[in-house]
Symmetry: C2
Subunit: 178 residues, 2 copies
Amino acid sequence: MRADAEQNRERILEVARTALKASSAASLQSIAKAAGVGQGTLYRHFPSREALLLAVYRHDVQELIDAAPALLAEHPPAEALRRWFGRLAAYGRIKHGVGEAVEAATRADLSGEYYEPTCAAITLLLDAGKRAGTLRPDVDAEEILQLVGFLWRSDFGKDREARTAHLLTLVMDGLKPQ
Amino acid sequence: MRADAEQNRERILEVARTALKASSAASLQSIAKAAGVGQGTLYRHFPSREALLLAVYRHDVQELIDAAPALLAEHPPAEALRRWFGRLAAYGRIKHGVGEAVEAATRADLSGEYYEPTCAAITLLLDAGKRAGTLRPDVDAEEILQLVGFLWRSDFGKDREARTAHLLTLVMDGLKPQ
DNA sequence: CGATTAAGCGGACATGTGTCCGGTTGCCTT
DNA sequence: AAGGCAACCGGACACATGTCCGCTTAATCG
């Protein structure tokens, strides 16, 4: 990669980071302008809004993925999975910030360099639970991602926390061997 | 309402119906143009894309809502609920057509004149199941709508049908009294 | 060190959603 | 029948995302 390209990429990321922290609905136009580059440049580096979000929150997403084995080391599988969902919910909660990035990372259709790792993280927990006999054997990570989409999309009003926790309980019950 | 307003509304709906049948991604601009009205007129009648979709598929949405009592008359509550989910999935399947309308009808935040009725339909089934002791008592319709959002959003690739059915099984298992 | 070249740049452009406002026209009153 | 007014009309506008392409410039090579 050319040196100026690298510089531009970094500058865009830095500007985006602060701009998105201020308002997660910041437009790409404004970010490009603030970074002193054209829209074309921004779009070449980050093909879509989600890609930019994902790059900005790359650290958080990575952290989420890394949490899986750590949780598994400290808890029985089903409990670990539940706690991992809790993490996911926590990220989703910061609406339109990490939330959108998580969405991007967990969407199957996009190129999503993080989709695979995310699935792998879930599979890790899932398989452990299957072996232990505490999770049903007939589900896979992709399905679960679809199912828990409400975690970062939920529009409940006030008692978001309570309802999220509630639905997670329901999901975990459904995941038990029947 | 003025007579010309009513006429315009009807003409927009008719044009939208055919345009959306042809391509569910038809732009509102093109619909307005085809209906011989300005964008302003279209937006006054239907404040958002979803509102227009909802109006176009009003019939289908109503049908979905009406299905609840009918299903309950013919099946035990849990089974009825599951079948109702099946209907929901069937509508969602016609991606970006009735699908978006269903989404609009089931979103809590929008004015959504159909949100209430949809919740009522689910509550009907839910309460019956609770009384019969076949569904857990600690969930409500709003939560369930959040949970089954995957039905009309799912991006799984090929075996969509199978995976949807699979996830529905999981949800129903989670809904059993624990 | 200068020429070549391909990657990179940036802004104009296409298209989409949703807002606004000055002109128009149906409806009610007298 | 005529006039006033409120509601309606429609297109210009603001602003968004994402594409395209002619110009620039960093890296390489003789």
